[in-house]
Symmetry: C2
Subunit: 256 residues, 2 copies
Amino acid sequence: MKDKTGHYEFVAEPFHVDFTGRLFMGVLGNHLLNCAGFHASERGFGIANLNESNYTWVLSRLAVELTEMPEAYGKFAIDTWIENVYRLFTDRNFAITGPEGKVYGYARSVWAMIDMDTRKPADLLTLHGGRITDYTLASRMCPIEKPGRIKVSSQTACRDIDIRYSDIDINGHVNSIKYMEHVMDLFPKEWYTDRHLYRFEMAYVAESYYGDTLSFFRESRRNGNEFDIEVRKNVGRKEAPFGETVCRSRLIFRNK
Amino acid sequence: MKDKTGHYEFVAEPFHVDFTGRLFMGVLGNHLLNCAGFHASERGFGIANLNESNYTWVLSRLAVELTEMPEAYGKFAIDTWIENVYRLFTDRNFAITGPEGKVYGYARSVWAMIDMDTRKPADLLTLHGGRITDYTLASRMCPIEKPGRIKVSSQTACRDIDIRYSDIDINGHVNSIKYMEHVMDLFPKEWYTDRHLYRFEMAYVAESYYGDTLSFFRESRRNGNEFDIEVRKNVGRKEAPFGETVCRSRLIFRNK
């Protein structure tokens, strides 16, 4: 049996860091999702295997918490493992580490598997004869909070964007990473000069497509360094004046 | 002496392909620039070495020509080598290949080296005792045309965008890859359904920064499948009503 933890190594590429020289959160998010894919494939539960049986993984939630981001040209590694498998969801965790025992931080994710025709969730506990539970590793700690509940009541969008060609992935949806980038882009560059994004959460609720307009609703919480953001599509159209929620995000910054 | 050709291997990651399942041109561009960096560093001419001596490489032109783009999860490789070194510029070429002798296409690039304080170009033929010429490989063919001259006379922008946090790189400039993405995003998604971007050229003229507004001027050429695009910054401001040219691009599409 394959080792329960997947271990993957990376270098922070020069165009993958922001003006402060630290990895973009969206790039880290992309690496996390790739690692999830590698780990699942190596154990017979990858998208490629699932497509044959008409299932696919859907990311429901992601929470990333980092004391620091890898720097340009720096080496880092991502470990990933399955904490729990429930009937309809599985919890996949990540540790982001550097050389010499450095720990950048951790991430938690929640995934469902759906039937691509009916869009209904599959029962994870019976799939492949229940073999997925062979890979759970409950003993490894992931010392960050689970994704929380995010609720935004603002009715005034701080930004609207039309979806572009570069936003769309192979499934015809806006890709999960692009939402992260658009959320980060709600803040001016100066905001990032003396603040570090300590925790980033995303709850994916519905898909959006080319032709949709995304509206971003933002509220600050507590000390002014925390923000809840809701992304809605097609606000103001006759059939649904308040639009439809696509995803919700929470950002917690810390002063440097 | 290091082999004159650098060879680097990649996989087309799932979030790095467009809705047709083919690698985004911007992602390929990022890989090309990384390969240029790897190849130069391995031979003592990388940014890290140069920074010590206060020089940096600046990309002046890029032309990519492809009969096809790598597909999702597909393996591909990039070879890179120096064709020529002149006093102020060097020509670096690329071949993009797949397994079993497949050739996706080629790319050409032109680079200068500048002094970071004076912003003046360095004399490449005398730098490091002229050792850079040890690495030229004029014998390897790069069977695509050199970047041409692009001239756009349109005075009506087809899109204006404000520069965002995600556009800015570690040097505080809009990164070279983001211009490529913004240019691709001028075309609707449907445009890419039955067309393939056969040739992409970019001439980098000036830097742009956070706070700048970019305007895109586009003209179609010949058969309607060729476009010249000029990107200007801060059009309409009092001091320079026509703005300042940041880069120029030519896109040649082919019907699938």
